[in-house]
């Protein structure tokens, strides 16, 4: 019984990335028939700019959720690293690349602090990262006060070489953000699915005690996943700063929920132990295509986009809940039969 159940979930799981892939293809076909402009490479790749930070961060939040944790502070770290970068460059006179590195290091420390509380003090991940999101947003605001520029204006006037980070286009069509995302996705894939570290992350998520007894430093592994996700958030913050040309402390404020949506949609179990980088990447692209295609092809206003994304999430998780649990499916079937009988 048990094996057949796990086999069944395994089969569904094997199909999961395939379903996501189908969703993306379906979206592209629908949007392309509605508006042929959609398929132009320049337009299609240009759409990546708006969702690139969600894509990048969700790759590494997958690690956190596989260990059974959750990270809702990533959005605030995006803003924090952006403003650290700006202030260090403008008011600290640091070289722009050194400033970027500084922002990444600071983000790593922030992730490390939260990870320490979660792994070594045993506090619930949700509470710690909730506290962290307040703390790091607040620190971001305080850092922005250090600058001579008013914080609501943001810091502008970055050097050309830094702005090029997001303006560069390979073969004239593929923007550098897409390339960075692909490189990071491959890196994350190798790290999670091909290395010893990745296996340890999975084992910690399946059973932390068993992992501990088999000689894995489970606490260190858990903490490291938060550092990883924080650093990826800072990378997203740097790219976003380069793309917008402005450093502000609140640019990541609305990212938290889309990130979690992407990870969950990608098939990662929120209870831990299961998930894949490929699934997250596909899910992020599916959400991004939806957010981009609806306004372009169906004239849906930007403000209403929460509804389709929310419905997509709800439909998929409800569908998975129904089909993932045979007893619920038979229960629903029975109800249907009864209804017909009457």
């Amino acid at each position: 019984m048990r094996t057949s159940f796990s086999l069944k979930t395994k089969q569904i799981w094997k199909k999961w990335e395939f379903i996501l892939f189908l969703v993306i293809v379906l979206e592209i076909v629908i949007f392309a028939t509605k508006n042929s402009k959609f398929l132009m490479p320049r337009v299609l790749f240009g759409s990546m700019n708006d969702i690139i930070s969600i894509c990048i961060i969700s790759l590494f939040v997958t690690f956190v959720m596989i260990t059974g944790g959750i990270d809702i502070q990533a959005g605030s770290i995006v803003g924090l690293s952006s403003i650290i970068l700006g202030v260090a460059w403008q008011d600290g006179g640091v070289n722009i690349w050194a400033a970027s590195f500084l922002a990444m290091a600071a983000a790593g420390v922030c992730g490390g602090i939260s990870g320490f509380f979660i792994a070594y003090c045993g506090v619930q991940p949700m509470v710690v990262t909730l506290g962290g999101s307040f703390l790091y947003t607040g620190i971001g605001l305080l850092v922005s006060k250090l600058s001579a520029t008013e914080s609501y204006k943001g810091i502008n006037g970055f050097p050309e070489s830094f702005l090029k980070l997001s303006k560069f286009k390979l073969f004239g069509v593929i923007p550098s953000q897409v390339i960075i995302f692909l490189i990071l996705a491959v890196l994350a894939y190798i790290l999670l699915h091909k290395t010893r570290y990745g296996r340890q992350v999975f084992l910690v998520g399946v059973n932390q005690n068993a992992a501990e007894y088999s000689g894995i430093h489970t606490k260190l592994i858990i903490m490291s996943t938060y550092v990883l996700s924080a650093v990826s958030a800072s990378v997203a913050g740097i790219i976003l700063t380069s793309y917008l040309g402005t450093a502000k402390s609140d640019i990541g404020a609305t990212l938290t929920l889309p990130i979690i949506t992407a990870v969950v949609l990608g098939g990662t179990l929120s209870t831990g132990g299961k998930g894949s980088v490929l699934g997250t990447a596909l899910a992020a692209i599916a959400i991004g295509t939806l957010r981009f295609g609806l306004p372009l092809c169906f004239k849906v206003s930007q403000q209403y986009l929460d509804i389709p994304v929310g419905i997509l999430l709800l439909v998929i998780i409800i569908g998975r809940a129904v089909f993932g649990r045979p007893e619920l499916r038979t229960y629903l079937m029975k109800m249907k039969w009864n209804g017909k009988g009457n």
Binding site: C121, Y304, I311
Partner: protein, 332 residues
């Protein structure tokens, strides 16, 4: 005495009292009764929000859709008020909105068994989108003056009608949770859902009721929000869910469920919303608001967890030593 100190809401209350005392030491003008009562008055929206989400958190689940529910019910209620239907129509309409969303959340979490964070996250997106559709992206303005002035009317002394009403609701809720048989179901389900089911408590039904209550409380908070602010933007209540959860944690609730109370949650809400006022009295700018909130939250949970872990360890030692003593006695 020791029992009282172990009580988590008493701890939070002492923390709040200590905070007020300390701030008063630095700035004497904080000690005026009206200043302190104003801290309570200003927390009314968060008091209702966190009391509502406390039901859900007590059962061991979470609801991140209440910010959007607040926004939607405030928009619905405010439109009815603006169009001259009066509070008799607006309040029930808002409450129905909240209860409906709560019911959907409850069914998704309890019946379909979807992790609550994820399900309510999806609902949050949909409800926030509906706010935009309903308001067409515009502000709801021109609320009747006799409604907006209500937030400045005093019941007794400096206590506003709204805070008085919220206080009564919280006290009733607290008494139901702690004194009645059905009320204790919430804590029982959060403490051990499987065990609760085994002793005959309808765990699924309890969770659904918790979500409905949470939605209703959020919609009442929305109506008060409408009166206090006087206009509703489509983003009204954005991020309030996180602040309400933070307030619950400050008030001694455990996010794993089964620990805490409504009284604790409402005290946490006062602490949470007083921080910016306290900062002003200490001579800081309110820019420190988030930093202090985050710092407080982290410190309190880390200390709480450390104390808990130590108590658990001590308990284990006591049980072990009692067992060995028993064995020794038998041998002799």
């Amino acid at each position: 005495m020791k029992n009282i100190l172990k009580n988590r809401e008493v701890n939070s209350f002492l923390f709040l009292a200590g905070l007020i005392f300390l701030v008063g030491l630095i700035n004497q003008s904080f000690w005026k009764p009206e200043t302190i009562i104003n801290c309570f008055n200003d927390s009314v929206v968060f008091t209702l929000l966190s009391a509502g989400i406390a039901f859900v958190i007590l059962t061991g689940e979470i609801d991140v859709s209440i910010g959007a529910v607040l926004g939607l019910s405030a928009a619905v209620g405010a439109t009815l008020l603006r169009d001259g239907y009066g509070i008799v129509a607006a309040l029930p309409a808002a409450i129905i909105v909240g209860a409906l969303v709560g019911l959907i959340n409850g069914i998704g979490v309890a019946v379909l068994n979807i992790p609550s964070l994820i399900f309510t996250l999806g609902v949050n997106g949909v409800v926030r989108g509906i706010v935009y559709v309903y308001t067409k992206g515009a502000w709801v303005e021109n609320l009747p003056a006799n409604y907006t002035i209500l937030s400045n009317r005093f019941l007794v002394g400096n206590v506003t009608y709204f805070y008085g009403a919220a206080l009564v609701i919280v006290i009733i809720g607290h008494l139901i949770l702690t004194k009645t048989r059905k009320g204790k179901y919430f804590v029982a389900v959060g403490d051990n859902a499987a065990g609760a089911t085994l002793v005959g408590i309808p765990a699924d039904k309890t969770k659904i009721i918790a979500y409905v209550l949470c939605g209703v409380f959020a919609s009442m908070a929305g109506m008060i929000y409408a009166s206090r602010i006087g206009f509703i933007t489509p983003t009204a209540g954005n991020g309030y869910e996180m602040k309400a959860i933070a307030a619950c944690v400050l008030g001694g609730l455990s996010l794993t469920g089964g620990i805490g109370s409504l009284a604790g949650a409402s005290i946490g809400a006062v602490i949470m919303s007083s921080i910016s006022r306290i900062l002003v009295f200490l001579g800081f700018s309110s820019d420190y608001d988030n930093t202090i909130t985050g710092f407080l939250l982290l410190t309190i949970v880390v200390i709480n967890t450390a104390v808990q872990n130590r108590a658990a360890l001590k308990n284990r030692h006591e049980i072990l030593s009692a067992r060995t003593a028993e064995k020794g006695g038998k041998k002799a």
